[in-house]
């Protein structure tokens, strides 16, 4: 989550160089960080409970959404760089 927040701050730093399209990158990065923040308490509780009963189900959705956010950031970044 903190990595995504840091990345979103860096994207804002490059707003003067790349213009408004960089706000898309900021929105994706900050949005992903916010989603992680809002769900982390539930996920931490589930993990802690799972460890105590020795069974933790893999959270496929969270992994795929996080990876999708990275791919989306890359695709948008390439668009911004090529359009500059």
């Amino acid at each position: 989550m903190l990595s995504l927040v840091t990345a979103s701050a860096l994207y804002l730093r490059w707003l003067p160089h790349h213009g408004l399209p960089i706000l898309l990158l900021f929105a994706v990065s900050a949005g992903a960080a916010l989603a992680i923040y809002l769900t982390q308490r539930r996920r931490y509780g589930a993990s802690a409970y799972g460890v105590s009963r020795e069974r933790v189900d893999a959270d496929v959705n969270a992994v795929l959404w996080t990876a999708f956010a990275g791919v989306a950031l890359g695709a948008l970044g390439i668009g911004v760089v090529l359009a500059a």
Binding site: R55, A58, A67, V81
Partner: protein, 133 residues
Amino acid sequence: MTNSQDAPDGGAPPRGRLAERLLPGGEEPDPRFTLANERTFLAWIRTSLALLAGGIAIEAFTSDLFLEPVRKGLAVVLLLLGMLLSAGAALRWLRVERSMRHKAPLPLPLIVPLLAGAGAVAAAVVLVFVLWR
């Protein structure tokens, strides 16, 4: 990034449809291994984010160092690598999770040579242009 709920009858709780589809069969591995697999996935995602941010930075701040085509090329290479790492991290997480569920040997990390090779190429390009300039 984990889920766990007890079934009403005290047996194994039902898994989600996506989990059943992508991680079929086998049995839940030791929770420490599942959590370690997630930590490894998140470490790859952090690397990917660094590359994604670095790609934009190269394009923004190296105009006095590189010619425009080189600058854009390096930025696109870094951004592509970040994208591939994100997707590769998810695929590796899936493959490792499947292997653990079936008590099979863990797969080789294919994204390690990808990152090493692309990193070496990018470093070589930068070195050539810094020396040549």
